[in-house]
Symmetry: C2
DNA sequence: CTTCAGTGATGCCTCGCGAGTATCAATTTT
DNA sequence: AAAATTGATACTCGCGAGGCATCACTGAAG
């Protein structure tokens, strides 16, 4: 069913009308609009025909608004103002000066690179609003596929189909122990020294890749770990360690500054590795200006 | 300073854009709009140029919205909907089916003709809103001159310059007495029988014409009235009479139904006359459709 | 790998309509 | 009563929106 073009008037008519409604004088309005007076008269007449209502009462010496004209003037004003502002707004959007970027991140990101990126980004693009959402690697990958987030900070898994990524962090983990733990005074440790220690990890479903690499490090060290707790989000793990429930892995960057009541010790020999990348849909590199602006800060080329 | 025509695009562009944004398909959109596809392509290209931002990503096989395009689609939709509704709304306004009428009235009007008029008017024009404001005759004349009300129900004064009026009520007054008053049992009275009675009137400033006619009736009857109270609005006078503070004038219509605790007695001989007219600015009889609708009910021709 | 259907862009032409000029008709001012 | 002011009308002109034919490119089918 053809939906035919439904307006019998144009913006021009409304702009002309607004000016006549302001001045209540066809000649002055015509001058202000830089058109000849007859053209203006005809356009107003057309508008009245199109709307099916008289807008002005013209006694040859005076022009007045009718009730319909007053009502139209009130409605037209905000519409024209909004439309006049459109080009600027859209241009800002297109140039990535304005907009919204939905960002996923892990606790590791927030503990390391993210604060600095946010500070710099906000300085460079104060008019872009970020929507930040802490969520596990697996959920971020799903959200990227579904289009729920535009980019994410997560642990790189083997498979990131259709995504572009850039590595932001890669560090061998140490161990976080309660400050009063028997081993806390050691200068450094090996994983097999920690066979008796209960561990605070995170649910495997949240980040299977890293989880399996943790288990692999244990098995290379010849240790079967005892899992005391699985906790999420990440920041809570520190609390549990401080409470004496066990130890957890942590990379040096994340352990700086060191929270109260815990001790960080490097690991010799086999140890899991913390990795962090920023990832986004490859297709959107150019088509989403606000995202491009964010990537320009968070994942600069070269 | 000529305020030149400031839009480099027209409603047509926005309608075309909306259809392409809906279908994401130039040929189908062109068909729906009943134009040829090349015309549509060119109009969209013009709009993009005018707005200074790409709205669609055209890979020859697929059309997608850009960020700017999505933003425009969101803004354009309500604007076009509003503009499409305009003709109907304005036509209703112009035909007096819709709108607002500011009405002044006196207590006498509310006690007599006004309720019936309002009931009938609301049945005939349910979409016109009335703004009803009780105020004295003098204030209504000022409000009519200032344009604060469109019509009023008031006591006709000698001078109503520029107003059209129609008489709605003209009745010789009787007297309202407390039910337990010595004279309340009389079948009827003359004004001179009431020489000793204190009177409840209204401030002269509120309606000088009627007030002076009340005094004239007294003087014709050879009585100098004792004014006990001046009160406004009108309805309060009944309360004062009931409380035994004095008598007041009232026309038969206003005394029906008779309130509790008071007695209404007709007057023989000289007595003031209650008059009520509806008045409006002569110029506006035709130019204010909502007012015309109200007058059609409140002051029907002949 | 080749072919073909499908899609948006481009070139060219036509004609409708908006705009300008000249003028009119009516009303207020002097 | 004459003049000035103002919105409407008649006529012509030129821009640009629209239609038609065609191109250039893509992705799917064989």
């Amino acid at each position: 069913m053809p939906r035919e073009y439904q307006f019998s008037y144009e913006l021009r008519h409304l702009v002309y009308f607004r000016e006549v409604a302001r001045t209540l004088h066809f000649r002055k309005a015509a001058e202000a609009l830089a058109v000849a007076q007859p053209a203006l008269s005809r356009q107003i007449a057309q508008l009245e025909l199109a709307l099916g209502a008289a807008l002005f009462i013209r006694s040859r010496r005076k022009v007045e608004l009718t009730a319909a004209g007053r009502a139209l003037a009130e409605r037209v004003e905000p519409i024209l103002r909004g439309l006049a502002a459109l080009p600027g707004e859209l241009r800002a959007l297109a140039e990535g000066e304005t907009g919204r970027v939905q960002v996923g991140f892990t606790g590791l990101a927030m503990a390391t690179v993210l604060p600095g990126i946010l500070r710099e980004f906000h300085r460079a693009y104060p008019r872009i609003r970020l929507e930040l959402n802490e969520s596990p690697t697996s959920a971020q990958l799903a959200a990227l596929a579904a289009g729920d987030i535009a980019c994410g900070f997560f642990h790189p898994d083997a498979t990131t189909p259709g995504l572009k990524t850039r590595e932001l962090l890669r560090e061998k983990n140490g161990v976080l122990l309660p400050a009063d733990h028997a081993l806390a005074a050691s200068p450094s440790l090996r994983l097999r020294d920690l066979a008796a220690v209960p561990w605070v990890l995170f649910p495997r479903t949240h980040n299977p890749g890293f989880y399996d690499r943790v288990l692999a490090a244990f098995s290379r060290a010849g240790v079967t770990p005892r899992i005391a707790e699985e906790v999420w989000p990440r920041a809570n793990a520190v609390g549990l360690v401080r409470a004496g429930l066990g130890a957890t892995f942590m990379c040096p960057s994340e352990a700086r500054p060191l929270p109260e009541g815990v001790t960080f010790l490097p690991l010799e020999g086999p140890a899991p590795e913390s990795r962090l990348v920023i990832g986004w849909r490859a297709k959107e590199t150019m088509s989403e200006p606000a995202l491009a602006s964010f990537l320009a800060v968070a994942a600069p080329e070269t």
